[in-house]
């Protein structure tokens, strides 16, 4: 009884949170709405790729292709068939969502069955190739709009943001549940050692294909959302870079960490958007900032490599370095003001956004190659452990 009470409670909480988010986003203009909506999609994409890449250890870099398959599947259905069903509102969206998921899952199965017998780099090449094939196929098929793109009968345009976030939560819940039960262990075992897994009776190919299909299904569902909420999709909305962006989210969040990829999905999507609004900066403060950042990164790296003492002290040293970096930037900027050629040069900071974004990624990988969360989950027991309590260190505790 308690079980069902908790379950009903957490579902109600999730739905309520999604509606709260919707009512927050509504009336704040199209831009905010779009950001909230896309952030939800990216969280779904990152977490679903994490199931394939991080948890099962299959290096797939074609995730955007499944996103695309779902988007076109649901978009095409909405344009050509959905009118005669007589469904309306969220119910119709739900059906379209399922169609997107199923189409992408089938694509995942078709790609996965032959290629998941490959390992590592070979699989990466196959998934990359698949992504390109799908994109070029769509580009050259008139019924799908070809290179012009497909305008989807947009009755859901800018509505139901709650559904997007509910999908993200569902995706996180599926991965979390999998790892909480013994059923998740074969997935992790395949990542760790395929030969040993199969000697323990794990059907390695089946586990990989399952992960691939579930991951693709969620990407496809996200695609269905995009097609029907945005109202327009084209092959250029799903470039190869998108696959890499999603992969970056997974790696940066900490490969294998569900909460890590969810957080990285949201944040990494938001940073470039946020940087659009930066005010122009003068050459002097820009140069000062570059010098300060390089110096601070160097010092932090030195501390990380050579200081093995108390954790609290180390954190204090990091904090001190960051403050020193900020101070250094202010001082240097004041000094460089006296250099006319620097002080008079003005830079559009918004044009530097991709430079800033990619430097952030490089710095993060320099300082924390295992990702922000490494293999940890942001959970209650993790916080307890940070505070020095003895709590089991693995995903599935006793």
């Amino acid at each position: 009884m308690k079980f069902f009470a908790v379950r009903a409670g957490s579902i109600a909480l999730a739905v309520a949170a999604c509606f709260a988010l919707q009512s927050f986003a509504i009336g704040k203009g199209d831009l905010v709405f779009r950001l909230v909506f896309l952030a939800g999609l990216y969280v779904t994409l990152a977490v679903s790729l994490n199931l394939i890449n991080g948890i099962t250890g299959q290096f797939s870099i074609g995730h955007a292709a499944f996103y695309m398959v779902g988007a076109y599947g649901a978009g095409y259905t909405a344009n050509n068939y959905a009118g005669s069903w007589g469904l309306k509102g969220p119910l119709l969206m739900l059906v379209l969502l399922l169609i997107g998921a199923v189409v992408a899952a089938v694509a995942g199965l078709v790609v996965g069955l032959p290629s998941l017998r490959l390992r590592g780099d070979y699989l990466a090449v196959v998934t990359l190739g698949f992504g390109e094939i799908i994109r070029i196929f769509v580009q050259n098929s008139p019924p799908l709009g070809g290179a012009y793109g497909l305008t989807v009968d947009a009755q859901f345009k800018f509505k139901y943001v709650w559904m997007v976030w509910l999908l993200a939560i569902l995706c996180i819940a599926v991965c979390r549940n999998l790892l909480k039960t013994a059923h998740g262990l074969p997935f992790l075992a395949v990542r760790e050692d395929e030969i040993a897994s199969s000697a323990m009776g794990v059907n390695v190919t089946r586990v990989k294909v399952t992960a691939f299909v579930i991951g693709s299904a969620f990407a496809g569902a996200a695609g269905a959302m995009l097609a029907n909420f945005d109202g327009f999709i084209s092959p250029t909305s799903f470039p190869m870079e998108l696959s890499f962006t999603i992969l970056t989210m997974v790696v940066l969040g900490g490969t294998g960490s569900i909460t890590g990829s969810a957080l990285a999905g949201g944040v990494l999507f938001y940073i470039p958007e946020y940087l659009r609004d930066l005010k122009p900066v003068s050459g002097s403060s820009l140069v000062a900032a570059v010098i300060a950042v390089i110096a601070a990164v160097y010092v932090v790296k030195r501390i990380a490599d050579h200081y093995h003492g108390d954790k609290g002290k180390r954190a204090a040293l990091y904090l001190g370095t960051i403050i020193a970096g900020v101070v250094l930037q202010i001082i240097l900027a004041a000094v460089f003001k006296n250099v006319p050629s620097l002080a008079n040069a003005n830079f559009e900071a918004s044009k530097l956004r991709m430079v800033i974004f990619s430097s952030t990624l490089i710095i993060l990988m320099l300082l924390r190659p295992q990702g922000v969360f490494a293999h940890h989950e942001f959970s209650w027991s993790w916080i307890q452990r940070l505070l020095g309590k003895k709590v089991p260190t693995t995903a599935v505790s006793v």
């Binding site: 039960t181 013994a182 030969i195 897994s197 199969s198 323990m200 009776g201 794990v202 693995t394």
Partner: protein
Amino acid sequence: MSLLHLDKATIKFGGLIAVNEVSFEIKPGQLFGLIGPNGAGKTTCFNLITGVYKPTSGSIKFEGREISGTPSNKIAHLGIARTFQNIRLFGALSVLENVVVGGFLRHHTGLGSAIAYLPPAIKETDELKQEAMRLLEVVDLAHVANVRSRDLSYGMQRRLEIARAMATQPKLLLLDEPAAGMNPQEKMDLTGTVRRIRDEHDKTVLLIEHDMRFVMELCENIVVLDHGEEIAQGPPSEIRNDPKVIEAYLGEAV
């Protein structure tokens, strides 16, 4: 009836005949040894039995059923479990989780139940963990159940491999150099553990080992391989004095 029966099992890799017409029979409850110098084909023999390789010719029967060419995971389901010479644990998983993976092949709840986190899957997970915990007690690893297996000492990792193989509840347990790298005390403990596994848990054991004293003390029957050929077979007392075995190990007189 014999539990495992190799009949002229042969495997060739290109021009190299790694295992050449090896035949032996293991009866239920036996402690069987497979020995030979480096490169004799012992581990290849294990790989044939566990389905990593398919024999080029000859047959391998388990409980009277032909198993050559059956995939590894199916062979594990039939009741053959193994450990590895170069330890192959699931490094990032905890000691307990490693053993649960072994026990998981007997699961009966579906993936859907796990994804929805329904009571049957939760209950099964708990049962598998408890069962794994009992096995960890057998190999004396219960106190490190929540440690990452990568962080264990070498001897402990070897014992964990045995526990993980035991978790599949095999009829036949294959141990690939279980004593490699262990000190004399650890070896003695291991002898006891292997005996206990046979006597109390009713398993048949086939083991590969380099340490002659260890094998002679433990095994009731021994097959000796050299250059992929079977050169002797019999109880330890016979093997010890077999001129061919002495020659294989010490080299021939000049």
